[in-house]
Amino acid sequence: MPIVVLRSSMQVNFLDQSVKLTHMDEDRISDLPHSIVESILTRLPIREAVKTSILSRTWRYRWAMLTQLVFDDDCAYLPGELGPPKDTLVKFVTRCLFLHQGPIHSYKLSTSFLLNAPDIDQWILFLSRKDVKELILELGEGEWFRIPSCLFSCSKLTHLELCNCELDPPPTFKGFTNLRTLILHQVIVAADAIESIISSCPLLENLSLSYFDSLAITISAPNLKYLRLEGEFKDIFLQNTPALVAISVAMYMTDDIAEHFEQSSSCKFVKFLGGVPLLEHLIGHVYFTKYLSIGDYPAAHSVTYSCLKVIELYQVSFEDPKEILVVLRMITNSPNLKELTISGSSLATSDYTATTSAATSDLEFWEKQCPWGCTLGQLKSIRMSELSCLPHEMEFIKFLLRNSPGLETMHVSPSSYVKENVIHMLVELVRFRRASAQAELIFENE
């Protein structure tokens, strides 16, 4: 019987096998150390990494030893798969996990599809047995996926990031003893559950909570260094966070919360910034300064922030003397402040005449309550933006210029809603006395 052989142009015939053998010593990549091969395969999208399994015998299961797995919606569109993309994704992830060998250190799943709970449950169970250290789940919006309890038995977790799910720790949960980073974004969880998770993770350094509704939270984390909060918070009490270095807060407010604030008597400033002596960088957005001004009283500002170098406060309302006072106190209690960025509230009225009359009486506070004679010796850079040429804004700038002998640059830019007052603003600015001879006043007007 004839032996019939078909080959493509690349492999000519059987005899070529011997020729191929002599070329084998040219294969350099297979001999690279395992760590480098893993590093190369990790930089490929997971589909491409899995494809290397049909390259040659040595490569057959190399991808299966990868310790970092990233699955995203690209895996839902495999050529030749006939089912809906959601099913393709589930099949692909399941198969990859099933074929995987060795530990998995990092697992990321990022999908916009609403996956079935049993599939994700199984994957998390699988990962909990593989000593997973980093777990990132970004699930599709809509139905909130309820995290299974096996997640809480991932004792080696150092990094946990959850998005769009529901978290309910079992009563027996003692905490993640190795957890350093916790990021919860749009997660449904009870306030006391979060508090207990946070306080039971002794090594927690990095905490980010975003898009929570009406959350009142007490944070106790002795090693916490970086804190990021975004959402509607009724109350934030940093009870035990002495190691905090950087804070970033974006505070949104609903009418309910506004009402709550009006009735509240506790001093938010003390509860928030009362116990952070090592703070170096503070960022506040939207209603943060308003939040801080609630329940404020002069003696509340006894703490000196000697490490605080950068303050960024956005959407400060310069129509509210209480907010301005809070900002002033913060600045004056930070002797080593280097950079200051303040942006005004675009909600300010653009009717200049109206604000002048209303604010005249308030201007007295600048003479009475303002701490003159305070020196911001380290302040080098100031940025003021979204200004509406309000009297308080002008007084504020005046105050800064007068008390910063080391100032190098001051950027001022008006809000785009107040075009007609720009000249007036400039006229005033030019008059202000400057303590620093080399200060540059840069006016940015688009």
Partner: protein, 334 residues
């Protein structure tokens, strides 16, 4: 010592480190450049080696003189403090433009010298080379041996491997085999014809699946090697019947049992292979396209069957092709 005298005469001369590569050659390198490599730095500090030609630091085996030159160029550029990130990036992009063999050697050498930035750079470059290529292209680029059997290539990673030609080949082969079997049955006794009529698609599937292994063992991505041994024809015919009997009795079981059959019937196919070689015209497959001659052969064979048979055949092939893709995915490694 000559070095000592030189040092006295020209005190402003830079200090050098002496490095010896595995082939025995020794070269001297400016100290700040050599110390950029953590491994060399450690050697100098811990053991004090490298200060003279006789005490040259022995570099790891993976560093040959040519690669050492490249690495030192890299170190020489990056150890200068004042360069901007953009400058460094531009240099890096130009630096890694080399053939893949050298790139692999460079990665290996940089790793043995613990020069992590360079290892990262070369790893990124290698990943970029691999990304987007087909397996053949990757094999060609890196001179990898194509030493997996076809069976191993096709399972258990079908459709994860993402090679559309394998799947298409599968389908065509299944169709061919099926048609051959039909022809054979028509030639054989009525018993088999009855069988054809009685069997459900499941039965046909199981039978075809059992032959699948044998065939795919001889199929590469772009190769169909058909091996026929004529002297075993009669014996194999008997074997075939026995196999068919076996399969018939087991065909009522769950389809998931089919995988067991795969490995137990490697030799049933010789007769069919012989038929195939006669029926299918031999041709080269250029990468990615299938020769239209196969389609002609389809037509040739279909003329032998009556139209009703043909319709059933077509329907079953389509059904089979669909099932082949969905069911075979669960074949695990055996």
């Amino acid at each position: 010592m000559s070095e000592g005298i030189i040092a006295v005469i020209k005190p402003e001369m830079k200090s050098y480190i002496w490095l010896q590569t595995v082939d025995g050659s020794i070269q001297q390198v400016e100290q700040e450049v050599a110390m950029f490599c953590p491994m060399i730095c450690r050697e100098v500090i811990q053991t004090g080696m490298g200060s003279s030609k006789n005490y040259a630091i022995l570099l790891p085996q993976r560093v040959n003189p040519f690669i050492l030159g490249s690495i030192l160029d890299y170190c020489r550029f990056h150890q200068v403090q004042g360069r901007s990130n953009k400058e460094r990036k531009t240099f890096d992009e130009k630096f890694i433009r080399m053939d893949t063999k050298r790139l692999c050697e460079l990665t290996s050498a940089a790793d043995s010298l613990q020069l992590k930035p360079l290892v990262d750079l070369t790893s990124r470059a290698l990943a970029r080379i691999i990304e987007g290529k087909t397996p053949e292209e990757i094999r060609e680029t890196f001179h990898l041996p194509d030493d997996l059997t076809e069976e191993e290539k096709l399972e258990p990673l079908r459709n994860i491997s993402d090679d559309p030609r394998i799947r298409l080949l599968n389908r065509l082969y299944a169709r061919k085999r099926k048609e051959l079997r039909e022809r054979e049955k028509l030639k054989n006794a009525e018993v088999e014809e009855e069988r054809v009529d009685e069997r459900s698609v499941d039965d046909l599937l199981s039978f075809i699946n059992s032959e699948d292994a044998g065939y795919s063992a001889t199929v590469t991505n772009s190769v169909i090697s058909v091996d026929a041994k004529g002297d075993k024809t009669s014996k194999n015919k008997k074997k075939n019947r026995r196999r068919k009997d076996q399969i018939d009795s087991t065909s009522n079981k769950d389809e998931e049992n089919i995988p067991k059959e795969l490995d137990t019937s490697p030799s049933t196919n010789n007769i069919l292979e012989a038929n195939l070689s006669r029926a299918v015209k031999v041709q080269d497959f250029s990468s990615g396209t299938f020769s239209p001659k196969l389609e002609l052969d389809d037509g040739f064979m279909d003329d032998d069957l009556d139209p009703a048979m043909k319709e059933e055949l077509d329907r079953e092939v389509e059904d089979f092709a669909r099932r082949l893709n969905s069911d075979q995915h669960f074949v695990s490694e055996l």
